[in-house]
């Protein structure tokens, strides 16, 4: 059974600092998705990673995928308040239905 774990569950960081959110999954998959959810809002797609070694960057966020280690990271560079949100990773299954991680609530403090 595929399980997806995110660490940490909650992250409070200061503006200007760097940090990484980790997404570990338990069985083989080569498809990993990152989503962002603002309070009271829908989930929005951030990154789609479809192969081992894939790296995607947008603004202060960079996501990578290591399928051998079954690990994806979401790196935040020089955080700003606008990045405060809940971030989810999701892993593709053979049935093409995603299984989601627990989510990481990110709070960027001035």
């Amino acid at each position: 059974e595929l399980k997806v774990e995110q660490n940490p569950l909650f992250l409070s960081m200061q503006e200007g600092k760097n940090y990484t959110i980790y997404c570990n999954y338990s069985t083989t998959s080569d498809r990993l998705y990152w989503y962002r959810q603002d309070p009271g809002k829908s989930l929005e797609s951030l990154f789609v990673l479809l192969s081992n070694g894939a790296v995607k960057q947008e603004g202060r966020l960079m996501a990578s995928l290591d399928t051998k280690a079954r690990l994806s990271t979401l790196h935040i560079t020089a955080a700003v308040h606008d990045l405060s949100a809940t971030y989810f990773c999701a892993v593709g299954r053979p049935t093409n239905k995603l299984i989601f991680g627990t989510g990481t609530l990110l709070a960027v403090q001035p």
Partner: protein, 113 residues
């Protein structure tokens, strides 16, 4: 602008009531999904549908049923609501050949008292 619309943002129901959550998408997507979101548990798949009148159980279908009579509409039904079904419910849709490319609605926060 593509949209997945959930009919209610907040719902309060009593234990034992029959509850309907409605979702409509305007993207002509074949696939539609219902998830529930709980703190510390992430999103869990309840049911999905890949075509009109077709449905399959997800990871946590117990206590729920679904209906898809039209392509654009997918309903989640709680036959007899219980307090442990208090949660945020998210609907999503995706194209036929990109099943994992999910577009989400804004969610319905259901409280069962």
């Amino acid at each position: 602008d593509v949209k997945v619309t959930q009919s209610s943002r907040y719902l309060v129901k009593r234990t034992g009531e029959k509850v309907f959550l409605e979702c409509v998408q305007d993207m002509d997507h074949e696939n539609m999904f219902w998830y529930r979101q709980d703190p510390g548990l992430g999103l869990r798949l309840i049911y999905f549908s890949y075509d009109v009148k077709m449905k399959e159980k997800g990871d946590i279908p117990e206590g729920y049923s679904v209906s898809r009579e039209k392509k654009e509409r997918f309903s989640l039904i709680l036959e007899s609501a219980s307090t442990n079904q208090t949660s945020m419910y998210l609907c999503a849709s995706s194209p036929q050949y990109q099943a994992e490319k999910l577009f989400f609605g804004s969610g319905t926060q259901l409280s069962v008292l």
